[in-house]
């Protein structure tokens, strides 16, 4: 992607449904992958591999937890179902867009978003749910024909305002739009027709971004989402367990009302989705790009967002999932469980990184595995995992832009393990963190979230230094040669973790001097007129709420 000003970025896209033969090939890869896993499993759990039973159990837990999640993902791929383009509406639906503004969010961003909302062709009313107590926001709303609702002091931040706005409005269909997302004019054309089905509770569309070229963090953060909004959610859609996550979810008012309004919490969208599923509503995931928004550009903002989500998602796992258990289908339970446990990787990553240090400092070894044997049994599984990962990329929303191994995303995920871990611990302790909207503009400075990475690097360098000293001056020469493979093998193992900190370090240093821009100001909606069609009409302002 050269620049977000490239017109192809602003083109509406829809994933083509898989044909039976590409599905068959995918199934073949999954069969081969599962056989490889069975072979690996059969090899892994052998008594002679156990060095220390406790550590072996921990290591096995980490390894097989990851494999389990991967298999769940493969199974969801097999169920991939791309909904056809929605049919014509049986009757006209009244439609509202809710977008919220909070103190500190840049005014010019609302100027752009509301302008884009006004251009959406299907007749609708846009509402700005505002608690900034800043009169300029009202002016911007009025400039673009949006209804300005002042909603100050409601508990639950965004969700609280939405619930209050629900009381003041009557539209049957409500799009909850994040204010950093610029919707395309055909947004509702790609969504509304599905609501012909009276049992449909919500339609979630893909979240796509436009500012990822602006920094390493932004690229990496976007890479982490591509697969999720492509094959993963398409697969979950096949089992009717697509989740509403983040922006751009279009709800049926009745569905929201049936659960007593939009869910409140750090993962409010997921809470809402699980409750709606719990009430027996259907959902659709439409793999279409009909808007583009912002992804955090600096490491600090990204980590704050991740902390919020990891705390929130654990709340779904511990509080919501048990409550909704009865109303959910088996696939929905599994799906919410899998998503709810995503951030536990912060904990498993920590354990995984500790292993080489346990050996180097204390001689604790979890497993007696021959490296070559491990490689021979592990590599086929890894091969099929990567092959499947790449194969399903044909069902990404924007393959040309999104394809790849997503190594930046992996680096960034690694850098975030302390954040995930913190979210996990906070959930166990039931400690709250405040709801703050993610920064829309890059924040300069060395974030405190980079500190664990630097600590990790310091521990690694100190350890290598001690190992070298130990071997030069203290290890008996009669032991040197026979122990060198094992010791340096473990140092190599620790080096993997060390190298994985480089991505986060680079992101932190880049963020330290990042130029804070307002990318939305550079977008001229008229310039994409052939992509984003001219608005048909601007809805008249509804005076009654003003």
């Amino acid at each position: 992607m050269k620049s977000f000003l490239d017109p192809t970025v602003w083109k509406s896209r829809r994933v083509q449904p898989p044909n039976v033969w590409s599905k068959a090939l995918l199934a073949a890869l999954v069969v081969a992958g599962c056989l490889s896993i069975a072979r690996f499993f059969n090899w892994w759990f052998r008594e002679e591999h156990i060095a220390s039973l406790a550590l072996f159990i921990v290591l096995s837990g980490i390894m097989w937890w990851g494999v389990f999640r991967m298999v769940m993902l493969w199974i969801s791929y097999l169920g991939m179902k791309v909904p056809p383009k929605p049919p014509a509406l049986k009757r006209n639906l009244s439609v509202a867009i809710f977008t919220t503004s909070s103190p500190g969010e840049p005014l010019s961003m609302f100027d752009k978003t509301l302008e884009a909302c006004a251009r959406i062709s299907y007749p609708h009313t846009t509402y700005l749910l505002d608690d900034t107590m800043d009169p300029r926001y009202k002016e911007v709303a009025q400039k673009h024909g949006a209804v300005w609702l002042e909603l100050v002091g409601y508990q639950g931040a965004k969700a609280g305002k939405i619930n209050e706005a629900l009381k003041k409005t009557t539209e049957e269909i409500i799009l909850v739009l994040d204010p950093d997302h610029i919707p395309f004019d055909n947004f509702f054309d790609e969504v509304l027709g599905y609501f012909n089905d009276e049992k449909l509770g919500y339609v979630q569309v893909a979240q796509a971004y436009y500012n990822q070229p602006l920094s390493f963090t932004a690229k990496a953060a976007a890479e982490q989402t591509y697969g999720f909004y492509g094959p993963t959610q398409i697969g979950m859609n096949g089992y009717n367990c697509a989740v509403a996550i983040g922006a751009n979810c279009t709800f049926r008012r009745k569905a929201l009302e049936s659960i007593g309004g939009h869910g409140i919490g750090l993962a409010e969208d997921m809470i809402t989705a699980i409750r709606i599923h719990g009430k027996g509503w259907k959902s659709i995931y439409a793999p279409v790009i009909v808007s583009r928004g912002l992804v955090p550009e600096d490491l600090g903002s990204f980590c704050k967002q991740q902390l919020k989500w990891s705390r929130g998602v654990h709340e779904v796992l511990f509080a919501e999932l048990p409550n909704q258990w009865k109303g959910l289908s088996a696939w929905q339970r599994l799906s919410y469980f899998t998503i709810g446990t995503y951030y536990i990787s912060g904990f498993t990553m920590l354990l995984f990184m500790i292993f080489p240090y346990l050996f180097l400092f204390f001689g604790f070894l979890p497993a007696n595995m021959d490296f070559i044997d491990f490689a021979v049994h592990w590599l086929p599984m890894a091969f099929f995992a990567i092959t499947i990962y790449l194969f399903v990329q044909q069902w990404l929303c924007h393959p040309k832009m999104e394809r790849g191994l997503h190594w930046r995303g992996m680096f960034l995920k690694f850098a975030c393990w302390p954040v995930f871990f913190k979210g996990f611990i906070l959930s166990i302790l039931n400690k709250d963190i405040p709801y703050i909207p993610t920064e829309k503009k890059a924040v300069r400075g060395l974030t405190r979230f980079a500190r664990p990475l630097f600590l990790h690097q310091a521990v690694f360098i100190l350890t290598v230094f001690l190992v070298v000293i130990q071997r030069i001056y203290f290890t008996h020469e009669a032991r040197l040669a026979l122990s060198s493979g094992e010791i340096w093998g473990m140092v190599l193992f620790a080096t993997i973790g060390f190298v994985m900190t480089f991505g986060g370090t680079y992101a932190a240093i880049e963020s330290k001097n990042i130029r804070s821009r307002e990318p939305w100001n550079e977008i001229d909606l008229d310039a994409y007129a052939d992509q984003v069609k001219k608005p048909v009409s601007i809805h008249p302002i509804k005076e009654k709420f003003l």
Partner: protein, 380 residues
């Protein structure tokens, strides 16, 4: 109906294709396992070598054994050695040779020969022990490898003799070796040994004349099969140029049939035999002094004109006085057995090889034995 056919075909195709993909990966994995293992063991040895070169800051054991360099670096010199070499085997050396060092310290000497054992087979640890050989060389010693032709561990996929439905592959095993059924293994081992590059003792198929002990014994094979197998193995080494092996032919001294198994002067460099006193540990044993054990064997085998090695030398503590046994043994070597040029202590603390209970041959804690040994081993 058409959809059903297409779907059915798709599912079947997926399953078959999946199995084919999987088998292809397994095949590739098995094919690349050998080369990968070679690379890895090369890397292992390389790292150990680099580390060794970087450690010149310390007092090295090899400095104390410098006098031995002239011998161990030249096969001709060691085959015509004019002094008595001492050596040891210790059974707890998987991670470190510190036990050998401790034995040396308690004997107040350095041991030029260090003995290790390795078996035939297709497993990863049944290749030439490059890392160990190199480690011992770097410590200043010469490796002595006892190489045992057990045939059970070969992969029947690659070794037809293991595949032919024999109830016991060891029956007629030596004939199969002589016929070249295990050449792939022998050649690989020999090539790796050649890569090691330095002379080392190689004791192949020891105690072949004991019909109760090892599968390559008389119970499974004819003596001429042993000779043919021995010559075949030596010839394979010569064919690949692994001339650094010093061949020790090592019969059991208690069975006077040695001559029937002797492969011939041009195939043997040293003659070895065991000198182990089991004391009264079992019903079949009694306290034998060292000359009682080896006298007949020595008298016959010393006529072959080869240097002789007591390849396993030791006494248990049950049934007599160990310190006297050791003292008299050395005295007899100096006075009566001048052809003996090497003595390798069998210093296993946990020997499970012969009876239902573990035997302890170690003596590094036995002060009586140590004080008896110290003066006699110095007297060169």
């Amino acid at each position: 109906m058409k959809t059903v056919v297409i779907r059915f075909t798709a599912v079947i195709t997926a399953v078959i294709l999946g199995i084919v993909f999987f088998l292809a990966m397994v095949y590739l994995g098995n094919k690349s396992k050998g080369p990968f293992e070679d690379i890895l063991s090369g890397v292992d040895a390389g790292i150990a070598r680099t580390e060794n070169q970087m450690l010149n800051t310390r007092q090295r054991r090899s400095a104390a054994l410098e006098w031995f360099n002239a011998y161990r670096n030249n096969k001709l010199y060691i085959n015509t050695i004019d002094t008595l070499l001492l050596g040891a085997y210790d059974d707890a050396t998987q991670e470190s040779y510190e036990n050998i060092i401790q034995l040396e310290d308690s004997l107040k000497t350095k041991l030029p020969v260090v003995s290790i054992y390795t078996a035939w087979g297709s497993k990863k640890d049944q290749v030439f022990p490059l890392l160990r050989a190199q480690a011992l060389y770097d410590l200043g010693s010469i490796p002595m490898i006892t190489w045992e032709p057990w045939l059970n561990d070969f992969d029947p996929l690659y070794f037809v003799h293991n595949n032919s439905g024999n109830a016991d592959v060891n029956k007629g095993g030596l004939k199969a070796i002589a016929e070249g059924k295990y050449d792939a293994y022998i050649d690989k081992w020999a090539v790796d040994a050649k890569k090691f590059g330095m002379p080392f003792f190689l004791r192949w198929g020891h105690e072949m004349n004991d019909p109760y002990r090892y599968p390559w014994g008389e119970q499974n094979n004819l003596p001429e099969d042993y000779i043919n197998a021995w010559r075949h193995v030596v010839n394979r080494f010569r064919a690949v140029g692994a001339d650094n092996a010093i061949w020790i032919w090592s019969p059991h001294p208690a069975y006077a049939t040695y001559a029937q198994f002797y492969p011939g002067h041009e195939f043997v460099d040293w003659i070895g035999f065991t000198g182990l006193n089991y004391g009264t540990v079992a019903t079949w044993s009694q306290w034998w002094a060292f000359p009682d054990i080896i006298n007949n064997a020595y008298n016959e085998l010393s006529l072959y004109g080869k240097p002789i090695m007591v390849a396993e030398f030791g006494s248990l503590a049950v049934g007599g006085k160990r310190k006297t046994w050791f003292k008299e043994a050395f005295e007899s070597i100096y006075s009566k057995y001048p052809a003996i040029k090497a003595v390798v202590f069998f210093h296993a603390a946990n020997d499970n090889s012969i009876s239902y209970k573990a035997l302890d041959w170690s003596f590094k804690q036995d002060t009586a034995v140590l004080s008896a040994l110290r003066p006699v081993i110095q007297k060169k």
